[in-house]
Symmetry: C2
Subunit: 208 residues, 2 copies
């Protein structure tokens, strides 16, 4: 799991190219060129193009699982605070790593890719963690009881993914073409997470 500099530049280049052109449209030659290494190094280090994409997913998925669990099990903060943190952190993470998340979206659509099962298992685990958290909040009377948690998670993920993956459409439609890429990213993070937090609170929090 420890990668040297050459392996890391291959992983980075592959993530970038797989994200913008797709797995099949990206040749190992393209990756080698982008990473500035010889073509044979990819087979040498990763075995094959398929194994390469698997390595990319594993690296990211493990990192997210840790963040999620730590974030929700932190008992120093209230349920609402932790829920807000969940939305904010998720949105931030997706917007800050467009390349990887585009790969993720693509892989979920594709049915014939090997990493698909890996993704499903980890999505399920993540969902169970969130569900337990909400259920706990419901038992403590903080969250409303008649919430479809699954659909709420789908709205969180679906909205964020859609904003991220069509961010340049969004930019043009909102007349934000004067913003730089990082300014746009900042705008989308705050805008999307505020929108979602409002939306969820409207159905999740008992009226005072």
């Amino acid at each position: 799991m420890e990668y040297n500099q050459k392996q890391l530049s291959i992983l980075e280049a592959a993530e970038k190219l797989f994200a913008s052109h797709g797995f099949h449209a990206t040749s190992v030659r393209d990756i080698a060129h982008e990473a500035d290494v010889n073509i044979a190094m990819i087979s040498y280090y990763f075995g094959s193009k398929e194994k390469l994409i698997e390595a990319i997913f594993l690296k990211r998925i493990i990192a997210w699982k840790m963040t999620l669990t730590e974030m929700l099990s932190n008992n120093g903060r209230s349920y609402v605070e932790r829920f807000d943190a969940l939305v904010e952190t998720y949105v931030n993470r997706v917007m800050s790593n467009p390349c990887f998340n585009l790969m993720m979206i693509r892989a979920q659509i594709q049915e014939d890719i090997a990493v698909n099962e890996l993704i499903h298992e980890n999505k399920k685990e993540a969902y169970e963690v969130i569900k337990s958290f909400i259920n706990e909040g419901q038992e403590n009377g903080v969250f409303s009881g008649d919430v479809d948690i699954m659909m709420m998670v789908y709205t969180l993920v679906g909205t964020t993914n859609h904003v991220m993956s069509t961010r340049h459409h969004f930019q043009r439609m909102s007349n934000l073409e004067h913003l730089t890429d990082s300014q746009l990213q900042e705008y989308l993070i705050s805008h999307t997470s505020n929108h979602l937090k409002n939306l969820f609170k409207a159905i999740l929090i008992h009226e005072a």
Copy 2:
């Protein structure tokens, strides 16, 4: 624009294969085989693989534009009724045509595909139609004034797309594996549109 039976079976086969494997992973040989026509017929009728995908998009986009405009400009129904119809019809349309909509999602992610500009123009048009409708409802005091219409549309599209594109993950996570594909589809349509209608009404309708 009038297609014969052979052209239609090519279009149908291509839509199916592009959707499940992606544009680049689908060879014209695969399409020819699925459509049960000779390989050369695809170049003969559509010129190239690129032109073929453009033809598919044009066919669908024109149909949706008509539906949307008719639906919202129907003055026989109230604003709320028309808004509900918008959500319901959109969700229904996406869920009932998974192949085409997966192609759409894919194309929006991909930056180097020719149809991308076509999609952007039509998304913008559709958004303007919806925005005018909501604004009209706001002027008439039916809808709340402080709604981020753009983000709401992104939640509609994002949630629906995400449910549709990961519908088999959804099925497994919800323990609905006993349902047939068409039963699942029906379940997802009602479930998703109800969820979204509730969500939007919570932020869109003035409290009575």
